[in-house]
Amino acid sequence: MSKELIRLVGCTMAFDDEIVLNDINLYINDKEFLTLLGPSGCGKTTTLRIIGGFLQPTSGDVLFDGERINDVPPYKRRVNTVFQRYALFPHLDVYENVAFGLRIAKLPEAEIDQRVTEMLEIVSLKGFENRKVSQLSGGQQQRVAIARALVNRPKVLLLDEPLGALDLRLRKDMQQELKRIQQALGITFIYVTHDQEEALAMSDTVVVMDRGRIQQIGRPEDIYNEPKNAFVADFIGESNILDGVMLEDYAVKFFGRRFKCVDSGFEKNEPVDVVIRPEDVDIVSPEDGQLCGTVTSVTFKGVHYDTIVDFHGFKWLIQTTEFHPAGSYIGIHLGPDDIHIMHRSEYSGLFGDYSSYSAEYDEINDPDLYPEDISEEVSEPSENEEEAAKDED
């Protein structure tokens, strides 16, 4: 990851009156694996198409190696695309599909042959040269699409949900494969997906998008551990998101009691969103619990149990390897590291409760149930309790 290769400056895209991209500012480094992540309709594919040259932004600039390329048509850009559902040429066989770009570039036949053969070897499709693309499986078609793009030795490869049509097993294999190819060839990958797991597993940098805006840019670890707002916290992994008040640096109040945390830099008594990851919660006996609640449902997920716990109307998702049957009364313990504080945003209150897991779905809508009337049963945590081990996931 070295110098900057692509930069989007204030890119806005409107179709008719609908704004699908709103002031996108983003730079992409050479040899970086960058993922645009977001739900459908968030603008990630539009962003990719702007970089590919298939769309021109309504306003804003696209820079490639410092040069403005807004008006450069796709065929003149040193960028190749792996399309959603591949878009392979049905009238050509595997070999000719891969050779397509090289033939357009009018390379000598010997070089075409050498490069196509080499590329088919890289994507493990040796021996498939004369197959028709309709005779290939999804995974094979996908690899032809990658080979067809990479054989042109682009500076940047754009991938639009390339694994979306594959089954889970194959998808996992191809994730590894793509990462390997990217590192081996040292090409910048810009990858579009709505699958957060895929994004976290493959990327150097993740760009989380929603409603045409960038919500957060960062390394996968940072995005997961330090989400900027309720949308990111909810979209990346599972999150319990609570209303809280930042009392002072390193101290937050929610459910009517004070918790130590590791965040600072907020206003005194600023209302905030509190994120607690389900795997960070320790279940303890009710006497030792900072908060106590009743288990309403348990779902076995293989590695862990998804346990829904009702804290006076607000339901949390807790992921634990221990089995606590529905109806049992438990306590929980949270260390300062387990609590992440975010500024309020337009997304506050929209995400992060798990009431839909239970039959008493409407309960959460009753604002009277929390937090004031539950403060009596919790007490100040002691220092050593905070050292308790976290993460049984």
């Binding site: 590919g52 040259g53 298939f54 048509p73 796709p74 065929y75 960028v79 190749n80 695309t81 399309f83 959603q84 559902r85 878009a87 392979l88 040429f89 049905p90 009238h91 397509f100 770009g101 357009i104 570039a105 028709k132 309709s134 067809r148 793009a149 042109n152």
Partner: protein, 269 residues
């Protein structure tokens, strides 16, 4: 099992109106007109009509090629418009077909006749009347005019169905617009060309009305000969033999054309 029976009415229809008549044609073709005895005489006599066969096929071929040259850009243009515009333009193409085929051909007679509308202008300007009607050109014009929609329809359908992402993929791989057309759009529209060609060629090769009205004795086509065997010469046996040979020739032509499209089947998916 239930859906199987849905085709039954059609099978009955086919049996009564296609298979049986075909059997009758074959029977007539191999029997003597006077005695009704089995004979190859009719088939042998066809030898006399070879030049007419050649001429029919030649004019139909020329018409089909002209239809393709005119029809392809039209179909390509329509397929590239908005849905609303597509529907309107498609309707325009179909509109002439709502008027009787005979009437449309008669209209061309009125236009091209020695004393017709066009020559009326020409002579009014003090020039000599042009030999427009009773030429090969007039016959081809009539065929192209009447059968052009049959070329445009399948072409439009095939071109419209070409995945726009294939065009983008080609651009992405370095194709300029002309290269996109030559390397992707045109190869993928070959099935449309084949079926359009077939749909123009088959009726054109067996037509009789167009050549009678717009042609002369020199442009008598095989369709005219067949018609005359039934209506004026009263030799239905020879007519049947001619029909049979024409049918075989048409099948051969279709077979040859479809050989080109064998590999392109996927394009219509």
């Amino acid at each position: 099992m239930k859906t199987k029976r849905l085709a039954d009415p059609y099978l009955v229809w086919m049996a009564i109106f296609t298979i049986v008549p075909l059997g009758i044609v074959v029977y007539f073709a191999f029997t003597d007109s006077a005695t009704g005895a089995f004979t190859f005489k009719n088939i042998v006599n066809i030898g006399n009509y070879i030049p007419i066969f050649v001429k029919s096929i030649w004019l139909a071929l020329v018409s089909s090629i002209i239809c393709m040259v005119i029809g392809y850009p039209v179909a390509y243009y329509i397929a590239g418009r908005s849905h609303k515009a597509q529907r309107f333009l498609y309707m325009l193409i179909m509109l002439p077909m709502c008027i009787s085929f005979l009437l449309r051909t008669m209209a061309w007679v009125a236009l091209l006749d020695d004393t017709g509308i066009i020559n009326g202008f020409v002579t009014a300007m003090g020039l000599k009347a042009l030999p427009l009607i009773r030429t090969n050109g007039a016959v081809v014009l009539g065929m192209v005019y009447n059968y052009l929609p049959y070329m445009i329809m399948p072409l439009y359908t095939v071109i419209m169905k070409i995945d726009p992402r294939l065009v983008e993929a080609a651009q992405d791989l370095g194709c300029s617009n002309t290269q996109v057309f030559r390397r992707v759009v045109f190869p993928l529209s070959v099935p449309g060309i084949i079926s359009g060609f077939t749909m123009v060629f088959v009726p054109a090769v067996s037509t009789f009305y167009i050549s009678q009205k717009l042609g002369s004795s020199g442009t008598t086509l095989i369709g005219d000969v067949i018609e005359s065997q039934f209506k004026t010469a009263y030799n239905p046996n020879l007519g049947a033999a001619l029909s049979l040979v024409l049918m075989v020739l048409v099948f051969i032509c279709i077979g040859i054309m479809n050989r080109f499209s064998d590999d392109e089947e996927v394009a219509t998916v």
